[in-house]
């Protein structure tokens, strides 16, 4: 059984992991924006020196800037949403909304593992009435498991059906298989117990279902 100290440490490790990935991604966004700004300055210098300016090239740079500003905005929105799953900042959220947040936070990890992740979380009425932060951590741990048990180039999906206290989360993988005892791994088991959820591996390890315990 995990102690409260263990749980706090696991929570801190999770936040550190997510923050490090977000910082790396934001740094990359800033690097791209910096280079594109530099490129515009280079193009302006060339124009001053008599070289023609290609409007299409300039438009492409502008599109790139907009894209990376939007990408950076999505990263900070994800971090902000994660912060709002905790304590006094907590806002209401449906299971689907929390799963979508988890998918956003996990995107870089999936990319690094070369696993294609799809999230299908159509929002249905009914807020998740338990520990939202713990729920996001649980789904994140399940996605880490989904990535770890399949080779590069695999596929994983995270889907949510239902809302409120009547929902099912399904993590499905295309290559590899979840170990049969995945749901009883200490971290998964402890989070499920605290959240009053059950996790079951089915379909010969291809699917993991999480639902409220009956």
């Amino acid at each position: 059984m995990q102690s409260s100290d263990d749980d706090n440490t696991d929570g801190a490790v999770f936040i550190a992991k997510v923050a490090a990935a977000a910082a790396h991604d934001l740094n990359n966004c800033l690097a791209v924006l910096g280079e594109q700004g530099g490129l515009v300055a280079d193009l302006a210098w060339m124009m001053q020196n008599g070289r023609p300016l290609d409007p299409a090239r300039l438009a492409a740079v502008a599109e790139g800037v907009k894209r990376h500003v939007a990408r950076a905005g999505a990263i900070t929105a994800g971090l902000s949403a994660l912060a709002h799953t905790l304590g006094a900042q907590r806002e209401s959220a449906t299971p689907a909304c929390l799963a979508a947040l988890c998918g956003t936070l996990f995107a870089r990890f999936a990319d690094r593992a070369r696993v294609r992740l799809t999230v299908c979380a159509a929002d249905e009425a009914g807020d998740f009435d338990g520990d939202q932060f713990g729920f996001v951590r649980l789904l994140f741990a399940c996605l880490e498991g989904a990535v770890a048990c399949q080779p590069d180039g695999g596929e994983a999906s995270l889907a949510v059906a239902g809302g409120g206290g009547e929902f099912t989360v399904t993590v499905r993988i295309a290559g590899g298989a979840f170990p049969r005892d995945f749901a009883s791994a200490p971290q998964i088991a402890a989070l499920c117990r605290d959240l009053r959820l059950t996790a079951n591996v089915t379909e010969a390890g291809k699917a993991l279902h999480i639902a409220p315990a009956r």
Binding site: L30, V32, G38, L39, D42
Partner: protein, 117 residues
């Protein structure tokens, strides 16, 4: 100078390549360590610029393979964890580390330091 740039951020590496080309360098780019190894086997480069953190082969793993394949080839490693330029350019592998994102002038100065020709 023929330079190969390696970074999984395609829009970053393509912009740096374009800016180097505007300054008279010949710059190719690839987005993975594996592609860098293949590219260096088909074309000779004077210098390779590598991002440290990449999916698949990391920058350091790619450097090890390229250094073994092409003895004497100099490298610039881009890292978010470096604060100042550091060079280990007296051994078999000449490597300089630059903070990412690197200013284009710092990158060029380091390229010229490592590959004066």
């Amino acid at each position: 100078m023929n330079v190969l740039l390696v970074d999984d951020e395609e829009e970053l590496v393509s912009a740096i390549a374009e800016r180097l080309e505007l300054r008279g360098f010949t710059a190719d780019f690839v987005t993975s360590g594996k592609a860098a190894v293949a590219k260096c086997r088909e074309k000779r480069y004077d210098l390779v610029v590598l991002d440290m953190k990449m999916p698949g082969l990391s920058g350091l793993e790619t450097l090890e393979i390229l250094a073994a394949d092409h003895p004497g080839m100099p490298f610039i490693m881009l890292s978010g964890h470096t604060e100042v330029r550091q060079c280990n350019d007296t051994g078999a592998s000449r490597v300089c580390y630059l903070v990412k994102p690197a200013k284009i002038d710092d990158l060029i100065e380091t390229m010229r330091h490592l590959s004066p020709a």
